[in-house]
Symmetry: C2
Subunit: 172 residues, 2 copies
Amino acid sequence: MAEQARYEELIRQFSAFGAVKREVGRMMPSECPAGSAAVLILIERHGEMRMSKLSELLAVDMSVTSRHVAHVAERGWIERSPDPADRRSRILRLTPTGRALLDQLSRRTCRMLAERLSDWSDEEVAQLTALMARLRASFDDIRAHGPEPRPPAPGPAPPVLEQTTRTPATTT
Amino acid sequence: MAEQARYEELIRQFSAFGAVKREVGRMMPSECPAGSAAVLILIERHGEMRMSKLSELLAVDMSVTSRHVAHVAERGWIERSPDPADRRSRILRLTPTGRALLDQLSRRTCRMLAERLSDWSDEEVAQLTALMARLRASFDDIRAHGPEPRPPAPGPAPPVLEQTTRTPATTT
DNA sequence: TATTGTTATACTCTATAACTATA
DNA sequence: TATAGTTATAGAGTATAACAATA
């Protein structure tokens, strides 16, 4: 448990991180922006999956996932085959072309990081990676377990955040 | 200097960090989105400054800064007084209202982090903060010192990135 | 009736380019 | 002629809501 000042510093770094993200984004090929790359990376990482699963991994609304997936499918980097078990669903699979693109992207981003982080030790890189992974997990946990285990301040609790990855359908 | 696999993991975490950013963004008041908050935080942090300086700190184009600043100025959170030394410039200053808003935002975000990171030690929070600061610095350095100290691969060097924070003016 | 996925629309953040006003 | 800042326009990413097809 840290103090107020620590948290303020951390939030400031969150905000400043945008610059790093933009810098990385600038090296992406224009055909494959960051959002598309994220789709490919996750499918490579976790294997074939359905839209809903991918949405969960991306932690964005399924409508957003649908757009990204359409983009990469149009370019032949993934294929969408109907799920025989549930014909509403589609199974997403990386194509050989997609895998080749990923290899190329990986080499390119690693080369960039090797330049930028040339004075970082292997341990430091690993440490940052681990802490960022844990950060993400800490935020995920809350979403899964409920946002207010113990309201730290009196007053009305903030509205509970949706924990699905899709827009709630209006019952017609 | 780290290995390829380390860098791949790190890039993956960069991508996943978007989810954290969005979660934080969801708690911002709709009148003061993340971009506006960044402006206020930097002016509080570094004191009064000109647009160009703020652009540099935000690491975005000055046109973007101009938009954000207009937004917060319209709401009375900062004031823009003409610089007597250079009448093209404007000096940005936080107003009391702006400072009050910042206090409120700070309390709110710290409360959120305290919840999310309740099982993090003070040292861990400090470590993540320090590593993210160093990361940002490593990327900044490159922009300042030139992108290719020693081209690791033969072939044409990638186009040098602009190091100003504004769109290059076309000479009329 | 509920769920999976798609599409239409709107909003935020960003960059490029053209413009104004001062230097 | 060059610089500080503004504005217009365009593109990426996201969320909400309405919709189609299937369960």
